[in-house]
């Protein structure tokens, strides 16, 4: 067993830390506090980061990307997220779908989409799964209701498919050049058989961006509504086969619970926790209450201690899973990790707020931002459905023990 980082990992870690310190952190609060949904977005930091390889981390070198492994990707995300969680996510969202394209697309598709992605520093990728009436149902299609789940309709017309319908909350929606879209090629059967995954470029006629969501946290990061009115997509853009279910086609599942998806959120959370800890430590080391530095009060010590404890537990779990994923091991532990990251990021940012407290009618705005950003996890990574989902994956192998407990059912309760 060896937990030390290799040269490549250390180099990327350092590069990410420098970029976070010099380019991300300085704009982090300004962007956060701009009103509106699109307002906080800033192309320049994306372009600068892209030039350093932070947009194309996950594309193999043979396709012109950086070709880093999961451990490196986790380390880079921790550093970027420490600068700004939402900006980190705006980068890593592209890694997520480049993983998918690399794993699931054919050579022609890679040629057509990976090459322009590498070339253009503003080329971003998103995936459209969620619809107003299809959230959890995309993760856990209920047996009794096969028509549930996404409804975006795709109808065959010669060599094309005609798309009609809406997607909502789609990441990079307002800024993406390419979307992987989950559509219904057969509405009568469940999405595992009636779902198909399409590659849909932004300039597809009939495809427009609707509402840009104005969020409480992750304000920089874009989520938008996508509208399809007779949008025509060539059959050559179908990933895998028609009707294999977009989950299978995507080589992962719809929740981001593939090898990268869980890791992405959990590593990002570590970065936010590191930021919170650093803020809290500086604060308690300089502020006084009743004639003592805050750090000399036991209650503050207990809070600081808990912040570190939780963060180190999460960091350890994330590094382990990153390594396991580099070995191609898919397990329930990934889901536990991302559930856990929710608990930790929310506790740690709340403790940071507690330690800081309000000063009169003001609060350190970054303290508030970290709490707001952490709220996003409840809705992505730690919600109840994902916790239920973990159980369905329990028949897992484990790097350090061989426990394997048979379950009568691997189906979650409906």
């Amino acid at each position: 067993m060896d937990f030390s980082l290799n040269e490549e990992q250390l180099t990327w870690q350092k590069k990410a830390r420098e970029f976070a310190n010099t380019k991300i952190r300085p704009i982090s609060m300004d962007r956060d506090q701009i009103e509106g949904g699109f307002g906080p977005w800033d192309w320049s930091v994306i372009e600068e980061g892209s030039k350093l390889g932070f947009r194309t981390q996950a594309v193999p070198k043979k396709w012109g990307g950086e070709g880093t492994g999961f451990v490196t990707q986790a380390l880079v995300m921790m550093e970027l997220a420490k600068g700004d969680s939402a900006i980190c996510k705006a980068f890593s969202q592209n890694w997520k779908w480049s993983h998918l394209i690399v794993n699931a697309c054919n050579e022609d598709q890679k040629e057509r989409f990976l090459k322009p992605f590498i070339k253009d520093h503003r080329y971003l990728i998103g995936r459209g799964i969620t619809e107003p009436n299809a959230g959890c149902d995309n993760r856990f299609p209920p047996k009794k209701d096969p028509e549930s789940g996404y409804k975006l309709k795709a109808e065959r017309d010669g060599d094309s498919w005609i798309l009609n319908g809406d997607k909502c909350f789609i990441a990079n929606g307002s800024v993406g050049s390419l979307f992987l879209l989950d559509a219904r090629t057969n509405a009568k059967v469940d999405i595992k058989r009636g779902g198909t995954l399409f590659l849909v470029p932004k300039d597809t006629p009939g495809f427009t961006v609707g509402k840009i969501f104005n969020k409480r946290g992750w304000r920089f990061y874009q989520n938008a509504e996508l509208i399809f009115e007779n949008a025509r997509v060539p059959h050559a853009n179908v990933i895998g086969n028609v009707g294999t279910g977009s989950v299978k086609a995507g080589g992962g599942d719809t929740t981001g619970g593939d090898l990268f998806g869980d890791l992405e959120l959990a590593a990002n959370a570590v970065g936010v926790c590191d930021d919170a800890i650093e803020m809290a430590m500086k604060f308690v080391d300089t502020q006084e209450k009743s004639g003592k530095y805050l750090i000399d009060h036991q209650l503050v010590q207990l809070s600081i201690s808990e912040m570190h404890m939780l963060t180190e537990a999460l960091r350890s779990l994330v590094m382990r899973v990153a390594w396991e994923h580099d070995q191609g091991k898919r397990s329930a532990i990934g889901v536990f990790m991302v559930n856990y990251s929710t608990d930790v990021i929310q506790k740690v940012t709340k403790l940071n707020m507690k330690v800081h407290g309000a000063e009169g009618i003001r609060i350190n705005p970054r303290v508030d931002k970290l709490v707001r950003d952490s709220m996003v996890w409840s809705h992505l990574a730690g919600d109840t459905v994902l916790r239920l989902k973990a159980v369905s994956k329990l028949d897992f192998p484990n790097a350090w023990s061989d426990k394997k407990i048979p379950l009568n059912t691997t189906q979650a309760a409906e």
């Binding site: 009103e35 509106g36 047996k143 409480r216 309000a358 003001r362 809705h379 309760a413």
Partner: protein, 414 residues
């Protein structure tokens, strides 16, 4: 005898305000356009209408022209109002409490003249008080030296048959709405601040009085951390007539200690109203949102969340009634019917923790919608954090309870 029945008047008053909130406040308060920006405008029209219903003078005695309700009734009613809008409730609640103390207890017949008439008749006539009982270090001095209670930077001197008030305060409740300020000041050059504090009546239009409208200050908007309409104020040599000094010493004020206790309970009731608003919106949503082939309320996981929220709110409500009733009937503490505890502090701390938990659970019920700024739930979450982490710092807030327990020698009474 022990009795939990409310009077017909209380029940009717509550219903009136509940309808008022539903019909008049909610549509304005939860309008997406109001919710989206960082700075939510104060609903002045709603405040005026609430005044019309008597809420601004709910605690003022009937003989002075008010409703003459006790604190418990005021808590019941302000909780309802807060379920509509926290800022409206905070402003009204503050005015109602100060109005009662000022006109029923502190002011002389001679001083009250035109002021009482204006207070009773003008719906926008709000009051503000530089809070002398706010202890910046409460709790932190646990078993250590108590630091000074007052860190007052406002001074007065007599000059040409006027009082001249000078100084500033960074955080005065109701400052944005108040027509009349009760200002605590000490004689200039006096070292023994505590013993020489006096109180002055300063009207809003007094030359030299400046009120910082932070709320409209875009630069700082995200850093603003307050409910109601507090602001910084400055007295730039404000001249006021000699008879505008109250016949009230700081010592007398502390001896009553009514303002601090009652304001704490009013805030707790308002905090509870916020929690109910969060619960109501989430509970409604769980009964219409379908996933997993059924309304989400029908899933065990959501059912438990709903029950957890209801339990917390019910406990908080029960305790606020108790604490408010004890405040109205302090004699009950003498016969051991209730435990000798700082009931108002327990009500405040328990409610703040409970409502924050409720708001976070409620937000989770909304899935991704829980972080959207056009949804009321995100503002409820934000408000709940403000209640939890305000009053300078909630970290040490429980320590005074421990100090009191020791004084009471082990909770001899139940």
């Amino acid at each position: 005898m022990f009795n939990l029945q409310l009077t017909a008047d209380q029940l009717q008053f509550r219903d009136t305000i509940r309808n008022f909130v539903k019909n008049e406040i909610k549509p304005l308060a939860t309008h997406p356009q109001r919710l989206e920006p960082f700075a939510k405008p104060l609903l002045r029209d709603c405040m005026d209408k609430a005044s019309e219903l008597g809420l601004r003078s709910i605690l003022l005695s009937e003989e002075k022209g008010g409703i003459g309700a006790d604190l418990m009734t005021a808590c019941i009613v302000l909780e309802e109002l807060a379920a509509g809008d926290v800022d409206v409730a905070m402003t009204i609640g503050e005015t109602a409490l100060i109005g009662h103390l000022l006109f029923d207890k502190w002011i002389t017949k001679d001083q009250e003249k035109s002021l009482l008439e204006r207070f009773v008749e003008q719906n926008h006539f709000h009051l503000s008080f530089t809070n002398p009982t706010m202890k910046m270090s409460e709790g932190w001095s646990y078993y250590g030296e108590k630091s000074e209670n007052s860190q007052n930077s406002i001074t007065y001197l007599e000059k040409n048959n006027n009082w001249v008030i000078k100084g500033s305060h960074p955080h005065i409740s109701n400052a944005l709405a108040a027509e009349l300020f009760i200002v605590m000041a000490h004689p200039i050059k006096e070292k023994n601040i505590e013993q020489n504090m006096s109180f002055f009546l300063v009207q809003r239009d007094t030359p030299g009085l400046k009120i910082a409208e932070l709320r409209d200050d875009k630069e700082n908007s995200a850093a603003s951390w307050r409910h109601g309409c507090s602001a910084a104020i400055e007295f730039d040599n404000c001249k006021i007539p000699l008879n505008h000094k109250l016949n009230l010493s700081h010592k007398e004020l502390l001896a009553h200690a009514t303002y601090g206790k009652q304001a704490t309970l009013i805030n707790a009731a308002i905090n509870l109203g916020l929690g109910r608003a969060a619960f109501d919106t989430a509970f409604d949503y769980t009964q219409i949102r379908r996933q997993g082939g059924r309304n989400i309320i029908e899933h065990q996981a959501i059912g438990k969340m709903v029950a957890d929220m209801a339990i917390k709110l019910e406990l908080a409500s029960t305790y606020i009634y108790k604490a408010a009733w004890i405040s109205d009937h302090p004699e009950v503490e003498d016969d051991n019917s209730v435990s000798p505890l700082p009931h108002h502090m327990i009500a405040s701390i328990f409610t703040a923790e409970a409502v924050n938990e409720v708001a976070l659970i409620a937000a989770e019920c909304f899935g991704a919608m829980g972080v959207m700024r056009d949804m009321p739930i995100q503002s409820y979450v934000n408000d709940s954090f403000m209640f939890l982490h305000s009053d300078i710092n909630d970290m040490a807030s429980k320590l005074p309870i421990a100090e009191m327990l020791i004084k009471f020698q082990g909770m001899e009474a139940a």
